[in-house]
């Protein structure tokens, strides 16, 4: 019961701050609201017993990405104080699309209502999660990422991907030879 109340509160917090992000006229305030929304998501992870994921969410999204966004806003002076309406002429169409997408997703998920451990057909065949992972064992996760009988290949490809992105960032940011 308590858990449900906490869940509702955290969800409300996440959703309300997310609405602030898209409706606020000041970009800087919107960025701050985005940080709050990320915090709410981290709270949801904690409620799901995913402690490591919550910590990663805090470090990556709040610690790195949000700060990056705020830096970008502060470095462009025009954006810092500009009060621009976040709505453009297509907001009606956008809202319509969002509502339809929501209705479809809600309709699909509602089919599994009420949810009990046995009733959820699509999830019935899911594999057993080992106890150590449920305990939030970071060691298990780390091992899975570098084991050849687990996820080493996605891990390696992700590193190549990051290298490509890094080269790309340098290409985009470095002054061209003739400008020097």
């Amino acid at each position: 019961m308590v858990e449900q109340i906490v869940f509702i509160l955290v969800s409300l917090f996440t959703l309300i701050t997310a609405v602030v992000v898209v409706t606020n006229r000041n970009l800087f305030h919107a960025a701050l609201a985005l940080m709050a929304s990320f915090l709410g998501v981290a709270g949801l992870y904690v409620l799901l017993d995913a402690g490591f994921l919550a910590a990663a969410q805090l470090l990556v999204y709040i610690g790195a990405i949000s700060i990056l966004i705020i830096f970008a806003i502060m470095l462009t002076r025009r954006l810092m104080h500009a009060l621009e309406s976040p709505f453009n002429s297509q907001w009606g169409l956008g809202a319509f699309t969002a509502v339809v997408a929501f209705a479809v997703m809600a309709g699909v998920i509602a089919q599994f209502w009420p949810v009990t451990p046995d009733s959820v057909t699509p999830l019935a065949s899911r594999p057993e999660v080992s106890a150590s992972i449920l305990r939030g064992s970071v060691a298990e996760l780390g091992r899975a990422l570098v084991s050849s009988d687990a996820y080493v290949i996605p891990f390696e490809i992700a590193s190549v991907l990051l290298l490509a992105a890094l080269i790309g960032a340098i290409v985009v940011a470095w002054p061209k030879a003739e400008d020097e």
Binding site: Q111, P122, L123, S125, S148, I157, A158, G168
Partner: protein, 490 residues
């Protein structure tokens, strides 16, 4: 803890390792080679791609996988399907390097990073065909795309190149998020991301599986530039450096179809009743939009952009036919092989006429080419005929196999749509031929040896695929059987 030697079959993924490793090697080599010898980069890149190609051809006929998680299916598979596609990707890479060398020098874009990013993108494409796990499909898609976002903006600070990169990046990121949502729902409904396991469980997934499939279609349709997800294509193709456009129009499209065929034919055939009409509908819309809008384009890069949208539609026909016809997949593979040579050849001619960046790309610049450069004009005319689908060209053979597969799969109406839109496409392709031979005009043509070689080779390959399609189609059939057998075997 004792050290265990992992039991991996790295030999079969060697082509991808060579390509990625070569990209990193280039990066290191850049420091040790003096400034005045910078022209090494393209040839070194070519060497890497050729080595990988030799290794890939050596793997023809091999059927197996590696990187198997405990109790699961291999994450990377190498079968003829993957090998066939890898040959296409590596040829695309090699031909792109050939057309890039001189173009980059005269437009002032000659930086070694271009070739590194090209190599990384090629490795992403190769993984698209080999990925047997949705996580890997997603990573391969990103590895293919991110270098392309940067390459399309390579001519910054030219505004249209920047616009091209920005549009491609924003819409690409958005479509990737839809794609990853589709993967998440697939995982939610089946408890796995491994394609063979998805195949076993997807029939119990109900509505959730259908929504996931719809999202996967959207993700792929964006990558291959199919309508109604094609809006980015003309602007991106027009603004990007022409060599990058050429690379993108073949590589990214074939990469998208590689993973699409693998996922839809190998993992989701049971949902065929749902996705075949959807893909057929997308194909129809794509064919109509691509071919009709191409008519009014005055810029050849934009025209070829709409033409590439239209060709995505023809391949989509083969994808829609692939569940109910044994030749659907092989028709798609053959079509992509023919499209590779024809389209890259056409772009090579475009590059020859683009004496300065962004100049010489209007259709009017083609006036009188028949008198000034008869051989180049002849090749361009031949490529245009091939894109229209007139025999004896590779484009005709490709369309023939695609339409035959569609009729076998009881999609006669789709084949009729394909034929009608091909006739429409004749109007804008043949107008280029008309302009080249019926008018007088003067414009510079910069054709160096590598470019002329590329035009010659691609024209020859298109001719061979047009005159003797049989052996090549048999090869495509060998490549496709593996996928279909996997479906039957479960």
């Amino acid at each position: 803890m004792e050290f265990q030697v992992p039991s991996l079959n790295l030999l079969i993924v060697l082509p991808v390792l060579i390509v990625t490793g070569w990209g990193m090697l280039l990066m290191l080599a850049e420091f040790f080679i003096p400034e005045e010898k910078k022209s090494w980069a393209p040839w070194l890149t070519m060497l890497g791609l050729v080595l990988a190609l030799i290794q890939t051809i050596g793997l023809w006929g091999y059927n197996g996988g590696t990187f198997t998680p405990k109790g699961g299916a291999p994450m990377v598979v190498v079968d003829n399907f993957a090998t066939f596609l890898n040959i296409i990707f590596l040829l695309t890479g090699i031909l792109t390097v050939l057309i890039s060398i001189h173009y980059l020098r005269r437009t002032g874009l000659d930086r070694p990073e271009y070739y590194m990013l090209l190599l990384f993108s090629v490795s992403g494409m190769m993984l698209m065909g080999m990925a047997n796990d949705l996580i890997l499909v997603f990573l391969a898609l990103e590895l293919l795309s991110i270098p392309l976002y940067i390459l399309s903006g390579f001519a910054w600070p030219r505004p249209d190149s920047e616009e091209s990169a920005m549009k491609y990046f924003l819409l690409g990121a958005f479509s990737s998020s839809i794609f990853v949502f589709g993967i998440a729902l697939t995982y939610g409904s089946t408890g796995t991301t491994s394609l063979p396991l998805v195949l076993e469980r997807i029939s119990d997934a109900g509505m959730l599986g259908l929504v996931a499939t719809a999202m996967l279609i959207v993700g792929f349709a964006f990558k291959v530039a199919a309508a109604p997800f094609h809006m980015w294509t003309p602007d991106v193709y027009e603004g990007a450096p022409t060599t990058v456009t050429a690379f993108m129009s073949v590589g990214a499209k074939v990469g998208g179809f590689a993973a699409m065929l693998r996922v839809f034919v190998a993992a989701l055939p049971q949902l065929g009743e749902a996705w075949v009409p959807a893909v057929a509908g997308v194909a129809t819309l794509t064919l109509i939009v691509g071919n009709v809008v191409a008519i009014v384009q005055p810029n050849i890069k934009r025209m070829l952009a709409y033409s590439s949208i239209a060709h995505a539609g023809y391949i989509m026909i083969a994808v829609a036919a692939s569940v109910n016809s044994p030749d659907g997949v092989s028709a798609a593979l053959f079509y992509m092989l023919a499209y590779l040579f024809t389209n890259l050849g056409a772009f090579a001619v475009v590059i020859a006429l683009e004496h300065k960046q962004g100049e010489g790309v209007m259709l009017d610049d083609y006036k009188g080419l028949g008198k000034r450069r008869p051989w180049l004009a002849l090749a361009m005319a031949y490529f245009m005929l091939s894109l229209t689908g007139v025999p004896p060209t590779g484009g005709f053979s490709g369309k023939f196999y695609v339409f035959r597969a569609a009729i076998e799969a009881d999609l006669l109406w789709l084949a009729i749509v394909g034929v009608i839109t091909s006739v429409i496409s004749g109007y804008y392709y043949l107008r280029v031929v008309y302009l080249m031979y019926m008018y007088d005009g003067e414009g510079e043509v910069v054709a160096n040896r590598a470019l002329v070689w590329t035009v010659g080779l691609t024209a020859l390959a298109t001719l061979v695929l047009g005159l003797l399609p049989g052996p090549w189609f048999d090869m495509a059939r060998d490549a496709a059987l593996q996928t279909v057998q996997m479906v039957a075997g479960g």
